[in-house]
Symmetry: C3
Subunit: 317 residues, 3 copies
């Protein structure tokens, strides 16, 4: 595996899940695989879970880790040819990125959507610059349009908890006071579509996701109807994607907050969320504290998904 930015990069999902199970059994099984291999983690956006879990995964494999925090404003790389660089931009990407690649074996990049220009965001400009120019395998630690380490951990978690071969999984929009990127819901949809689960997306009108991520999923605007007989409820907020509303919060309708009333129509579903979660906006205290809430095991699986991904990238060197 030469890069990891989306579900396709894993190729055979079943074998990846088997590898995850094997590593979860003994997360230090490959603890000398990463000897004398250096991971460079580059953060354009701050991170808690992703940083800790990826650093832990690298340790599991015996890698060295270098963390680089780049203030988003500070990444003023010139990208054009012919520009006389006498202004704010001190370096051209054609020097900056290959140089970073010199001092490491694998690069992780976190770079969120900025909600200024949908095309810029959805073209994954920064992530793709690293893939094109660094000369090293690159993986996403959440990019503008996808968060594949999260989605892989979500899938591992569903596989661990599912009681039927083809569970019904419902991803429900829920309210939030701030405008959040679509990376997590896009990515979750992409990964669910790669399984044979019964996958349903529900959200208020206006929150339609990019059709290329929605794919074969069923979209149901009636939240309660969508949740009927669900085996897993995956709650998440996102800002609007469509047209001029791109990046906007259209409403904060708290009837969409996942409550016991919502869970009651499910098939005693498990509750999932990628965290951090705002209680009583996304989900009530009662639901997230219930026995059916698996948000902590889901977070813990971030270490497992990152270990599998790093292992495969090392093996490709």
């Amino acid at each position: 595996m030469k890069k990891f930015t989306c579900v396709e990069d894993l190729h055979n999902l079943q074998s990846a899940l088997q590898e995850a199970a094997e590593i979860k059994q003994n997360r230090f099984k490959f603890d000398s695989l990463g000897k004398n291999k250096t991971l460079l983690m580059i953060f354009f956006n701050s991170s808690l879970r992703t940083r800790l879990s990826t650093q832990k995964a690298a340790s599991n494999l015996g890698m060295n880790v270098i963390v680089l925090d780049i203030n988003q404003g500070a990444w003023q790389l010139e990208t054009e040819r012919g520009v006389i660089m006498d202004g704010d931009k001190p370096e051209h990407l054609l020097e900056a990125i290959p140089v970073m690649g010199c001092y490491c074996d694998i690069i992780g990049v976190r770079s969120f959507a900025q909600f200024k220009d949908r095309d810029y965001d959805y073209n994954e400009v920064i992530l793709n610059q690293f893939i094109k120019y660094s000369g090293k395998p690159v993986f996403s630690m959440e990019a503008a349009t996808r968060h594949p380490l999260q989605s892989f951990a979500d899938l591992i978690t569903i596989e661990e908890y599912k009681k039927t071969d083809k569970p019904k999984v419902v991803m429900s929009w829920a309210p939030h006071p701030k405008a959040l990127p679509q990376a997590v819901p896009n990515s979750f949809a992409e990964w669910m579509n790669a399984t044979d689960y019964d996958f349903v997306i529900t959200h208020p009108k206006g929150y339609e996701l990019d059709p290329s991520f929605v794919g074969k999923a069923k979209v149901e605007y009636n939240q309660m109807k969508a949740l009927e007989e669900a085996d897993f409820v995956y709650a998440k907020n996102w800002a609007a994607y469509s047209g001029d509303n791109y990046g906007k919060v259209l409403n904060m309708d708290r009837s969409w907050t996942i409550s016991e009333k919502h869970m009651a129509v499910t098939n005693n579903a498990y509750f999932m969320h990628c965290l951090p979660v705002r209680r009583n906006m996304i989900v009530t205290d009662d639901v997230i504290e219930s026995n059916q809430s698996i948000v902590i095991p889901e977070a813990a699986n971030r270490e497992i998904s990152a270990t599998v991904v790093l292992k495969r990238l090392i093996e490709s060197l």
Copy 2:
């Protein structure tokens, strides 16, 4: 040892001191004990000595280390149930802390007194949240009311330098331009009270410490009288503890600055301070540069105390 926040956590002080001496002889004696164990160091307050010495200690044991700097203002965790989280606080402690615990084996926390609310400070709210919710062994890298890694290093140092079985140790308040927490003096008193040393505390009226830390120590308001025949002089500033004066600087009386005049009445005492120290406020140049000053060996013992503590926490896993 499942936590380390105060002297009681070490149980048998003599065996801990023996372990310290053994590690000082060969600080890499247990360098494979920490293999595949990850230490998460969480700083709510900045740190130089504690960060370096604890990270060095973890290296001595072969651990992996992840450092997390949390701006104090940024740690806005919701702690209540039922709150609709539509404001500044992005996460509830019931999710945030267990998640951090997922990605490590041991957690160190530094969180100072804030001097806004004495009860909040003295209840060690943040430290105790980590103990209660992280699911992992927690140790203090200086909390609101104690600094046990410092006190343990202080005790190791006294044991190394003492010339009699029961030395006279005098902790003296000294002036400082800013309001400093009571963590170091509280903790030093607690540790001295756990020995059979002759322990005396001296300070101006108004600087009385919490009686539960003063314990069986003798309090002497006359500094010169307190220092007579001392074997060790432990200088430290602290802000007032009592009543409405909590967290206030009551005076900066430089007659309390430890000078040669003060040292002259001692039994050729050693001079100690936890550092950083303001010269000619806390102590004169002449005293801190004298042969009797042991502030650098005392600082160096921070590596030893941290190695013992981490070793014991690893052994409990």
Copy 3:
């Protein structure tokens, strides 16, 4: 080797170059030499290349690394005796630096010229404080007047690419919008003077470097004449050194920008720059993208020079 701040510290340059070649062949050849050795990297100025390459070099040798970022403004150490420290400076260097030395085996320091006081800069006050008071081997990660890890990497690169025993190497000033220190050109001159290359410096009037660094180099004010038959063109901007102009940008004459016209008079020279580089100020797109541009291999050799230096410092312990 007990310190590394200038070319003399390497003693025999030929044996250092042989060691570099040996390490480049297998950069993990000495990967257990640094076991249980801790490198403390102290940054008074921000860093990308130096930080990554030095951290990678330490990993190559199996060292532990602690990175300390010190905001330049924050390093308010008192240096005088007798001062009553009741102001902004919380610590005296006589305590602060020995304490840092307690928790590591080797110290790297980055501290740039501040352009406020030429004597202060050229006396390398901060670097020398660490050498004098830390008790540990110290190396420069770019100081006020030299950048020896860069110059060593430059020399390694020239040795790899040179086609004749005594190549002609031309260091050319080039325009830049900001005032840059002389550390890189001083240091490059010092290292070139330690070889038997034909070394020429060219710059506009007013940009004369400190004569002690210029040494036996030929200074030629006519840039085109200087470049004739050059085998290597080393471009770099620097601010004025002389007299009242110290630290000033005297002009931004873009006729000095290295272009194809300049390269045409050379002996098909290789183009070098320490990076980051401002295109079309220092050098045109065409030249830096040409086959003769070796800026990326030059940057990659930073890992090699740092590995040699750390190896020698470890061997001296």
